[in-house]
Symmetry: C2
Subunit: 123 residues, 2 copies
């Protein structure tokens, strides 16, 4: 299949697929005219990449999963290194969430005070 078809099949864009290739996450053969040609299996591979991204990993993280991207990510477990990367990323996510929650609470608290002050001053 060609890049446009793969894009449609995976809900992405040609731009995205070329980017993944630049990043070494997928590969392609070339037709005589230079067009990229993909095997059917790449569909699963791209979907797995999208799953990992949706789970909060970065493309760099995903590279650690390259060896097992062609199967079901869950069924075909990643290497120990892949798991380690995932655990690290999980920690990063937790940290980011904690920071944002703190920020939200600060903002909400300040806002509450302000609004209450306004209410009191009006009442």
């Amino acid at each position: 299949m060609r890049i446009g078809e793969l894009a449609q099949a995976t809900g992405t864009t040609p731009r995205v697929l070329r980017h993944y290739e630049d990043e070494g996450l997928i590969t392609s053969r070339r037709a005589p005219n230079g067009y990229r040609i993909y095997d059917e299996g790449v569909v699963v591979r791209v979907r797995n990449i999208r799953h990992l991204l949706a789970a909060g990993l970065t493309l760099a993280d995903v590279r650690a999963f390259v060896p097992c991207l062609d199967g079901d990510v869950v069924a075909a477990p990643p290497s120990g290194r892949g798991i380690q990367v995932a655990l690290d990323r999980l920690a990063v996510l937790e940290e980011r969430i904690a920071v944002q929650i703190e920020a939200r609470d600060r903002l909400a608290a300040a806002l509450r005070q302000v609004v209450e002050g306004k209410i009191r001053s009006v009442a």
Copy 2:
């Protein structure tokens, strides 16, 4: 006071303060030699900016608070527009947090499955 002193007094850097000035959040007089000169009050102002940033607002958001940055942010309530901006930003924060939590849960769930699979296959 000069920029270096203000930076120290507010726990920032000269770079940051010039940026805030470019963004119209603080002002300064100039000494004959071109150096920026700040009033004491600017210290509070910068601290308030930092508070708002720490609360997850952007510099653009902070601009809506400019009129009330010289007092205690909580004691001197912002304009209705300021409150609206803060509320909008709060919604953005909530949304971002929700997305990240979802991502974290997905990753954690996938990881749990993988690890359990590994354990079962070993046991």
